[in-house]
Symmetry: C2
Subunit: 316 residues, 2 copies
């Protein structure tokens, strides 16, 4: 029987799950919305339902499910399979998620931070292949990171390493969700881009950005769309985004001296527009010696990174 | 015969060397000035002279010298024992320092970056004992760093890791020697403190700082002296220094999630004055989860860290 693993990527608004084979291919997939406002019990029931459905699909395939890997958006105690706290989901503090799933399905369960899991997935089956020091950065509503050193996720003292979203890059910058000011996430996430757009438009700057939204709610993608139509403010915001991303990447290069940095997450869908500008900033700012040995590329697994990475926690 | 190792700490203005025993104690020591302006040949001759003198001293002690470790201020290719480039010393590019010393003394030779070596020394014999994830930061004329993961220095792709001095913390900050702007080193080193003092005094701010110098040349220590006498500008600059150090330390906590950070270098001599202010900044800024598992302390080995760390490259 082929060994496969089940991967779960729990997000703030959605639950993404799949079955991965030993080559890193997803051979089954289930996606659904989470209901954060109902509290963790409702979402744990959804997780169980999704796992049950995927397992049932595999019975007929005669696949041997080696275990269940789960990536969660927050801080965990992997040794005890417990969640410490989740970033945008309330009520999960100290949740023994691993035991809950293990007791229900009698399978090995591993949990990790979602960005760490995605980094591991990219390392094994995507943009991080054949590296010794690989940094993965995900830029979407927030900014997360994961560092793989000599083939293993680097977790630090309590599974909080590579939190690139929360390094200060601008001492006078915007307030961050973490309470600090000028964090990379508060300056360069998709949310930050949208916030900057709102601010400028609120101050009377002329732009078509808000006309491209269906409900007036600006997202980063509307800024990129407006830029394609020649919108000045949009182009200014994209330049700013590339500047901040260039600084964040240069900081990673100084701190971890990786041989590759891959950028994933929603904002990385605009890689063709952003990369030339990012590369110029990095060229001007990063330590020359460290930059010489570092590729900066777009992540490969796209929206699959989380599920593949979670499954890889089992099938490593 | 007791096994001992010879350690060399090459600096921009001085050469510090010693013999270390297996317990991390320096049992012999030679310090002298370097003559950077004369080029590397003169300094290499000095290094050889110092090594020869220390070896001769040990013959009568019947110590077995296991090898020679050398810490240098810059980027190295440790696999080939070569210097890539030194930060404040010209003419050293591509210098095969390891072979030069090996051929002369017929002993094993190891080289590393000076901050990495000092970090390793602190880890084995000082402030980093009994840690799994230890970050050492040296704050003096520049700012360097070294990270020890599971008992080994983390070097990254080409021995450039943990260059904390060159992460941007203030996008609008001062120009750095590396060419970038707002680097931690450009904002928080002893040199940066002195530069801020000169700037303020140049703009007419009233202060006794320059009166405490012998030759009008302000150094960080004069600022701390002036603060003790109630100087307003000096107190303002110390607050600023603690703010920047707090941000730099919070960034390390986010990126490496260490279980301990030790601060060494000249500025750390003012730990009693700085620490309460740093702790407050870190409390406000660092990721709560990561901070929970992290001590922030003064490094223990003081001016001996470099030599002990270099010798430890041999006697690990």
């Amino acid at each position: 029987m082929d060994k496969v693993a089940l991967g779960i990527d729990l997000g703030g608004t959605k639950l993404d799950a799949g079955i991965m084979n030993g080559s890193g291919n997803l051979i089954a997939r289930i996606r659904c919305q989470t209901e954060a406002q109902k509290g963790p019990k409702s979402d744990i029931d959804k997780i169980k339902f999704v796992i049950k459905s995927l397992i049932e699909q595999q019975v007929s395939q005669k696949h041997d499910i080696a275990g269940i890997g789960i990536g969660v958006p927050g801080f965990i105690d992997a040794d005890n399979g417990k969640i410490i706290t989740l970033t945008n989901l309330a009520g999960w503090d100290d949740m023994p998620l691993s035991d809950i799933i293990k007791n229900t399905f009698k399978l090995p369960v591993e949990i990790d931070n979602d960005a760490n899991a995605a980094a591991y997935g990219e390392y094994l089956f995507g943009s991080g292949r054949d590296t010794n020091n690989f940094f993965y950065m995900t830029v979407s509503t927030g900014i997360g990171g994961g560092m793989i050193i000599s083939g293993k996720p680097y977790h630090g003292a309590n599974y909080g390493a590579a939190e690139i979203g929360h390094i200060v890059i601008d001492i006078n910058g915007e307030k961050c969700n973490c309470g600090n000011y000028g964090c990379f996430e508060a300056m360069a996430s998709g949310t930050a881009m949208a916030n900057f757009a709102k601010k400028h438009i609120g101050m009377g700057e002329i732009s078509i950005i808000h006309k491209l939204t269906s409900n007036g709610h600006i997202k980063a993608e509307h800024i990129f769309d407006a830029a394609k139509k020649g919108d000045n403010l949009a182009n200014k915001l994209i330049y700013k985004e590339a500047l901040y991303l260039g600084i964040g990447i240069s900081n990673v290069i100084a701190m971890y001296n990786p041989d590759r940095i891959a950028v994933g997450g929603g904002v990385s869908n605009q890689w063709d527009v952003l990369y030339p500008k990012i590369a110029k900033e990095v060229e001007n700012r990063a330590l020359k010696h460290n930059l010489k040995s570092c590729d900066i590329i777009k992540a490969e697994l796209g929206p699959n990174a989380g599920v593949i990475g979670a499954a890889a926690l089992i099938l490593r």
